[in-house]
Symmetry: C2
Subunit: 356 residues, 2 copies
Amino acid sequence: MSRSVKLAVIAGDGIGPEVVAEALKVLEAVTQAEPVDFDLTHFSLGATRFLETGDVLTDEDLAAISAHDAILLGAVGGVPGDPRLKNANIERGLLLKLRFSLDHYVNLRPSVLFPGVPSPLGDPGEVDFVVVREGTEGPYVGNGGAIRQGTPNEVANEVSVNTAFGVERVVRYAFEVARNRPRKRLTLVHKTNVLVFSGSLWQRIVAEVGAEYPDVAVDYLHVDAATIFLVTNPGRFDVIVTDNLFGDILTDLAAAISGGIGLAASGNINPDGRFPSMFEPVHGSAPDIAGRQLADPTAAILSVALLLNHLGLQDAAARVSAAVTADIVARSSTDAARATSAVGDAIVTRLTDTPA
Amino acid sequence: MSRSVKLAVIAGDGIGPEVVAEALKVLEAVTQAEPVDFDLTHFSLGATRFLETGDVLTDEDLAAISAHDAILLGAVGGVPGDPRLKNANIERGLLLKLRFSLDHYVNLRPSVLFPGVPSPLGDPGEVDFVVVREGTEGPYVGNGGAIRQGTPNEVANEVSVNTAFGVERVVRYAFEVARNRPRKRLTLVHKTNVLVFSGSLWQRIVAEVGAEYPDVAVDYLHVDAATIFLVTNPGRFDVIVTDNLFGDILTDLAAAISGGIGLAASGNINPDGRFPSMFEPVHGSAPDIAGRQLADPTAAILSVALLLNHLGLQDAAARVSAAVTADIVARSSTDAARATSAVGDAIVTRLTDTPA
Ligand SMILES: CC(C)[C@H](C(=O)O)[C@@H](O)C(=O)O
Ligand SMILES: CC(C)[C@H](C(=O)O)[C@@H](O)C(=O)O
């Protein structure tokens, strides 16, 4: 008897639908021989939907999505500067609302420099680390405010909220990730010399939880120093744990040095399993190249690997990763730019050629 | 008649005294023929002083420093993890206290990749931009707090404070800098899609002040995207204006790609002239290599160039820059590591060989 997984698909805006189409192709191919059926529900959400209906994410949308086992998201966001979207903030109203409502407290972002992939760093040696970014606290909580807006006396505040509860659970997750990797090394990144309150909370929790993980080596870097190491010695990193904002910044830089944002996958995970986790490429909707089969679907396909892992389908996940790696290695020896669907097809072919 | 400049010198900790010694050598050499006398007061401040007296920066220290025309600072901070410094936070108590008390609202950090200097990016083309980092607001204000500290119910908040007054003055300064550069281009870096309150304040002010500078081209980048461009296309930047925390992060990354933190100079400037401005290398005190003549004094010497510029001694500043550039180009063709003082001496020789 095969298990059924209810998957909510949010293709989104711009290149979102194109890359999601390839991700679903791969998902179908790799699970053909697995005892699992994916039952897909497509949700039309994002800038396009907002322009049609005026809604970003209704309570009904949220309830319907919550009733699924997992979510695959392409990309959301309209054309930058579109006046009709001026007050919409699709990112906050959709992406962040999903992450917060579904308690995605782990934002998992692996960075691997695949063989043959060009890096702006030339040949930086082996790059294989993962950022565990907190997803439900920090400066992302939206607890700011402003007075005297629009006047010369305006004061605009942002509040970063950090709780022992919230930090502990993501730090523990990061220690688990570190324990299960060969190098077993965890780096806390923060700015403890300036953000002293949140900084000491993070440091205390890492020390406390770390006592339960004597096999994991822990060190600490200020966020500014971490950016230096990311470009001078990325091989020093194994697992990074950090807050929501620092994680946002570090993972874009990490993607840039390991082959670009076109290869970076991510999981917004609710490890408790109370809510569906969401898998998405790190890249945005890139409206400038949308609809022309120019987008690289690799990040979306690698997000499928993260999804499969999360569902306990480790073998299928490994097969997707292997097929993607093989495709990436092959593409570096040819100059021909391929259509979005050609990349998906090539990866599907590799999967079919090497059955489970 | 020669003008007298009262210079407060804070050599500080670790490699601070070594690099400041070279900076002062260069200052003396370059101003020999200028109608200016430097009247130096040495302040013993930093971790060493704290360990001796228990004081970080007293009101008397601050008053005495304020009575000077400018400040040259080496580096402050003790050995990381030194238990005697556990509750001291020299960075906050000294460096940030000076920046805030002396209203250093412009933190000016140029990034230039000098010819022949190795970059982790290989050959990224011309890199020549300057970050205008706000210095007295943002998440650096220390307006955070925590409740139930040390318990599982701790909540630790940090407040980023941004005012129209504070943003306007630094943005205006950045527009002036941009107007006086050949490319006349200003990039605002923020995270407006998440930090909506402070983000809209920054965007509004940039738009308003920008209307007075029609000759300056303005664009905007999210901070995460900015890190990508810094490693994939640093040549796109001319002047960056950003808040205190983003500026901290971006300037370390900027230093890393343009020859390393050993070359990065900075000015903490009070453009109003009500308080002395402070010039310092971006690097820290590096206690691990202190006292062994291993530190590169170039960043401290380039900070002297910024100091001279600030004092209106543009010719002397240009001579220091030229001598440093020549030294940097020469060093790339030799492998010999030089002692800290040898670098200073070499730059002084170049200055003396090419008189004003
Ligand atoms: C779109 C934006 C809100 C989002 C974030 O800041 O988290 C994005 O940059 C990301 O990293 O997923
Ligand atoms: C030492 C620290 C407080 C300081 C800062 O964060 O501003 C440093 O990183 C810098 O950039 O000058």
